[in-house]
Amino acid sequence: MSTTLLLIQTLNGLQFGVMLFLMAAGLTLVFGIMNLVNLAHGSLYMMGAYFAAAATSWTGNPLLGIALAIPAALILGLLVELITLRTLYQRDHLDQVLCTFGLILFFNELARVLWGSAAIPMAIPESFTGFVTIIPGLIYPKWRLAIIVVGLLVALLLYVLITHTRLGMLIRAGASNRAMVGALGVNISLLFTLVFGLGAALAGLAGAMVAPLLSVEPGMGDPILILTFVVIVIGGIGSIRGAFIASLLVGLIDTVGRAFLPALLREAFQTQSANTVGAALASMLIYILMAAVLFFRPRGLFPPKGR
């Protein structure tokens, strides 16, 4: 268990974390402001990945493909909001869970109809293939590093948007007290649509950027969706800051846990089954973290004030 390996796994965890953040930022805002449980967020991520793969094979340029996937995901998100979700804001969470569950079934199958059941490969953009030396002895794939940089940039942009613009002020106000913002004469339904579109674009970006790393296939959004929910529940629903911290926490714990826990247990107990127990425990770690957080702080680590 060398230091280099630990550093690489930490970077992997960071990359996973910022990608989770791209997903969680949109989901936590939609959840916090509109009080909407959107299970279909993972489908937007999946569609983002498909759009990127399709646009890449169409234009022949992965970077252009990814750039095209973002507005495509944005438009898809706006359509979904306008057609189905808009009527759900006043309903209880149960109706929202079921309706968006229906959307998941629909989009997974749609992907299968349009692009087939098999995974679609997508190339890493040419200028980002290969490795980069971060410090002597530590080389890291360029593309993963690029994802980390883009994720952190988006986090910075969101921070500026939320804390220093009028739109951000309305978003924060909406997360704290929806009814009051409406009473003050703000066009809530337009704000909702904008926020949902923003979330969809971010989910699309996340999907498009990891498309070259993972296999683009139907249902790829489902596992990431659950993790994203874990993130926003740990972070406190409606809080971008909470989502950011929780994303990195979950990304790091999950990646590092999976990499080292089986080996640690094997050394500690010297038994055959330590490996599988370790692997299972590593998969469970973040859920244990979430249950513990909810046990001690039932509204997450950073719940928005004034609710």
Binding site: H93, V97, C99, F101, G102, V113, A280, L281, M284, L294
Partner: protein, 321 residues
């Protein structure tokens, strides 16, 4: 006298279920019995979920976990050479009660969306736990050598299983009926409407909810035992989060907080799946939008559509703000 369409439908369904094996034997279609056993087993699990979801207003997104615990009990006991049926049932009930007590006590500290998410988290943990059990097949699952045997009753026999599921389902619905109309049920339903008011009356809401949660877990575990007998196969997929989602759908589809809603929901959902699957390979493309339409337009579920006009059963939190 006005004819209650719901009552008619329910009587019709019960009569059909009771007589179905006769029709299946006459038509020489044993598959019918297996298919409808599956429907009733999932209806049984949905009825268990309905106890806390429909009457208690607690949205558990992890109840497939208890079905899996029941199924794995059968698989594990058979794997370790324990024959006979009584251990299956007792261990399944005991394990689900123990797990339900522990997990329920943790989950019920939270409410609303956090309850949904923490139950989901525990179901995911169970999923990965079952994946890690390599002696029981790990990721792939495992075949079960033989089913549950209760004296002369062999539950892995198609006809026996069918009527066991049927009687158990009737029993659970009867139990639910007695429970929700007893003082216990009044407290559970009252706590759904207004938890503070119940607490102010001096009622320990938490203990009542926990009891309901454990009972509901045990019903699901029984469904799991039957499911293992039907498939003679166990797999971590039984506790996948989409299975919990399907149970929720059945309850909603039939009608939240109605006695027969979960059964109607299970029948409609599985029949719809079967029907669409016969028409097109891409049946989910149609099932998804159908679900959305039901949620958007058929509030109160299918039984709600047939109900005489009355004040809609909207969840209390909307009314009380």
């Amino acid at each position: 006298m006005r004819v209650d369409l719901r009552l008619l439908l329910i009587l019709l369904v019960v009569a059909c279920l009771a007589l179905l094996p006769v029709a299946a034997l006459l038509a020489e279609e044993p598959y019918w019995m297996r298919f409808w056993s599956r429907i009733m087993i999932l209806g049984l699990a949905a009825a268990g979920l309905n106890l806390i979801l429909g009457f208690g207003g607690l949205v558990s997104f992890g109840h497939a976990m208890y079905v899996a615990i029941g199924a794995y009990t059968v698989g594990a006991l058979r794997h370790h050479g324990v024959e006979g049926g009584l251990p299956d049932i007792l261990v399944a009930l005991g394990a689900s009660a123990g797990v339900g007590l522990l997990i329920g006590a943790i989950c019920l500290r939270t409410s609303g969306i956090f309850f949904i998410m923490i139950t989901l988290a525990f179901a995911q943990m169970t999923y990965f736990f079952f994946v890690s059990l390599e002696q029981y097949g790990g990721d792939d699952g495992m075949r079960i050598a033989s089913g549950t045997q209760l004296g002369p009753l062999h539950l892995d026999d198609t006809l026996t299983l069918y009527y066991s599921a049927f009687l158990l389902l009737c029993g659970v619905i009867f139990l639910t009926w007695r429970l929700v109309n007893a003082r216990f049920g009044m407290v559970i339903r009252g706590a759904r409407s207004n938890e503070q008011r119940m607490a102010a009356l001096g009622i320990p809401v938490f203990r009542y909810r926990l009891t309901a949660y454990v009972i509901s877990a045990m019903i699901c575990a029984l469904a799991g035992v039957l499911l293992a007998n039907l498939t003679l196969y166990i797999s971590p997929a039984y506790t996948h989060w989409t299975r919990s989602g399907e149970l929720l759908i059945m309850v909603i589809l039939g009608g939240l907080g109605t006695l027969f809603g979960p059964v109607i929901g299970a029948i409609v959902l599985l029949q719809l799946e079967d029907l669409l699957a016969h028409i097109t390979q891409h049946w989910q493309l149609f099932l998804g939008p159908i679900l959305i339409l039901v949620v958007l337009f058929a509030r109160g579920g299918l039984l709600g559509l047939l109900a005489p006009r009355q004040i809609s059963q909207r969840p209390a939190e909307e009314i009380d703000g």
